[in-house]
Subunit: 252 residues, 4 copies
């Protein structure tokens, strides 16, 4: 039996501002990366998302980020190690507290945005995030970009690592993401995306931009929910997997 996890970013509303369709996505994904208040999310909204996830049996992770609401955590910031370590611990702890109140618990950590991209390659910041996770709860898994150096660094430090693929992204022959700055980096055809992800689950490969098959080892697939089209694509991925007998369930 094949199994796969689907994850998405949720809880990203802020006070009067809403973002995404959390209710719809919680019917599609098996893991919810929940904002922690640094790039998005206010405590009451986060708590509501955690309760909704708990009610539907969706696993929850802490979607930790740089402290940057206006930039939505997408801007690179040169945060010193003592600050980065403590910022990540603070966010995980806050989510753990809210998760307890929601009757669930945090099972993993997935860095967001610029922090996610930075630690995939930058060893100093990567080690800070790893140290933070180990300091709070070494049994938390880390969701990391498949094929990135981070995977090895975190495993060597004793963390359980969940490598993830991105459903709507093009890949290089080496199994790396094509940069968003290049044409064709983002895919928009739901049927094609669903088919690609099924192949990923079945054979561990995706068709790269040059037509070759790239090996991508992933235990989770990231889907988006920030537009009606994105929700539709996420649903298509889940249906394609389930139609083929793949069980969608949390990795943790």
């Amino acid at each position: 039996m094949s199994v796969m996890d689907l994850n998405s970013d949720l809880g990203e509303s802020l006070g009067a501002w809403s973002m995404g369709d959390d209710a719809a996505m919680l019917d599609i994904v098996s893991s919810a990366n929940v904002a922690c208040g640094f790039h998005a999310g206010d405590p009451a909204g986060i708590l509501a998302t955690l309760k909704a996830a708990q009610a539907r049996g969706v696993a929850v992770g802490a979607h930790v980020a740089y402290p940057d609401l206006v930039g939505f955590g997408r801007r690179n910031m040169d945060v010193a190690s003592p600050d980065l370590v403590a910022d990540v611990i603070y966010q995980i702890g806050a989510l753990q507290g809210l998760a307890r109140a929601a009757g669930t618990r945090i099972r993993y950590v997935k860095p967001h945005g610029a922090l996610y991209n930075t630690i995939a390659q930058d060893e100093r910041q990567a080690r800070d995030v790893i140290a933070a996770i180990r300091a709070v709860d070494a049994s938390l898994a880390l969701v990391a970009l498949a094929g990135s150096p981070l995977v090895g660094w975190a495993q060597a430090a004793g963390l359980r690592v969940i490598a993830e693929a991105f459903a709507d992204r093009a890949y290089t022959p080496q199994g790396q993401l094509v940069s968003r700055r290049e044409k064709g980096a983002v895919l928009h055809d739901s049927a094609l995306v669903a088919e690609r992800m099924l192949r990923l689950v079945r054979d561990g490969v995706v068709e790269a931009v040059d037509g070759s098959l790239a090996r991508v080892e992933a235990q989770s697939i990231c889907v988006h929910g920030d537009s009606p089209g994105a929700v539709e694509m996420a649903r298509a991925v889940r249906m394609a997997l389930e139609s083929d007998g793949v069980v969608v369930r949390p990795f943790a």
Copy 2:
């Protein structure tokens, strides 16, 4: 053997801005109310304070507040219940995470500033704070103003309540704090304050503004550390208690 707890507000620096003399106060108090980032405190500074408290055997509590850095949590805010409950949970959780990383754990919650004063009397907000504590960890104690309605509300809800007296404040004959707006509300004579607190521990009374003896039931005494004079007064209180055989130790 008489015992008493001394508590103070610590961890209130913010990035490049420092406040108070945490090192000095950690040699005086038995319990540290540690800022949670809403009225003061950044994660790295909070973590450093928690580590220092752990190293000296000082118990730590979450000093939760309204979200108001510029106002230092001293401004009344009409926060709706879903927000207040979640804000308090978030802050407790964040501190719990940082405390774990510091090798200690949060033992109590003490609301700060305007939130402290409001919930002493305002039942709606009091019940929100009580609900938040119970949702995260019902074994956490609540530090509350001695003689306030909050004491009873929290006890009735099943929380352990630690009533506290304020070393440097004048009391009414009914055992209430004299409002800061009135003359003589704040005491400045360290020797007098120390003597008053010794009497409080020994006899459960303080001399009120009219010369009568007011009954004040307190399991903790709050001292301040935000000026050299305040640190000196706190030290005088501790020395007076210990000279008379009172053991200063955490209530929790």
Copy 3:
């Protein structure tokens, strides 16, 4: 020839979070109350709104607020006078700078949310806002709730005051807003609302909740744009006025 101003709250997006349909509303209103960053609005978004307003000949005002993003400026805050005065000056100045960059200029100030409601009645905070406006530019008009004490306080201080009515709100026989806590306080029928506003312009009266005619002296009508239905209602008001020969144009 009858003239009337229509105003609405714009520029309330924040980074990745959008709010309202500014483009649609700029085709309907004659005055835009632009967020200043304290309750909503980031500088780039504010600047874009100001440029769009300038391009369509819509007058712009500073929509000043309490410093409270998560609460969207809707929570009462007990801000001391030195802070409130300086907060309002800061926001007006920031908007004036952005307006200059957009080729336009700020013509009025309209407080937002809890600050708006508070200063309609609370003389201390009202005088702080008035003092702030006078300190920056005494020629700026103040948009205030029709029939509120604020109108007189501001006029006595030498400010030009624009009293405003709310298109979608019920009125008491005394010309006051029916509290939102009461049933029927908010109107949802666009045609009815449009007809009421036409009568307001023509006769200076609205039909109160008891069927009597309440006198409401208003030089501007506030319409909303935070939902498709709200935009539709705003458009209906404008069309009703123009169909009857009323010229919709900025008061300033």
Copy 4:
């Protein structure tokens, strides 16, 4: 007659947190770089600093920064051009409003911390800051690092540029600052610093780390006030200049 401007960073307190000794520094410097709320400074504190500067005839500039209170604007941030331009305009405008209320006006812009260092070399961000200044008021001067590419870029764009030297920093033979990461980058001897600055004013040179004379063209000297020792050094610089007949006065 020789003249020189002395500038320092002021208005960097935040609510309950104080920083530096603004009163002492306003007796020493001729120009005050006043925080704008993004890295430091709350509106009431900024206004108080502007009033104090006005009372003593000290010229005021806007000390614009990245939006980062916890990092005190010292962390590099990859802010996109539309945001950076608008952020700078917003801050200048806010300061202009407060300056008007204080009876003075903003005469120049000096970027702070990481933004200062970045735009000294990074053309994209430099052009954003230049565009922002021109959009608000092209007559505002820009204070820039002497010898940096920024000086030329800003002059070519039509801005008046004030090149500045740093009193307490070591220089390379090429007239560049020695990196803070290298030993001896920061000078601590007040008498030596004062003598070096006098030579800078008299001869346009400073003794570089290798003993050679480096040419540094500066119209302003930056001194610090964030510690008693710093204030003492600043005073020594002023006294050395005045004893030798140099007039310390604002460049603008």
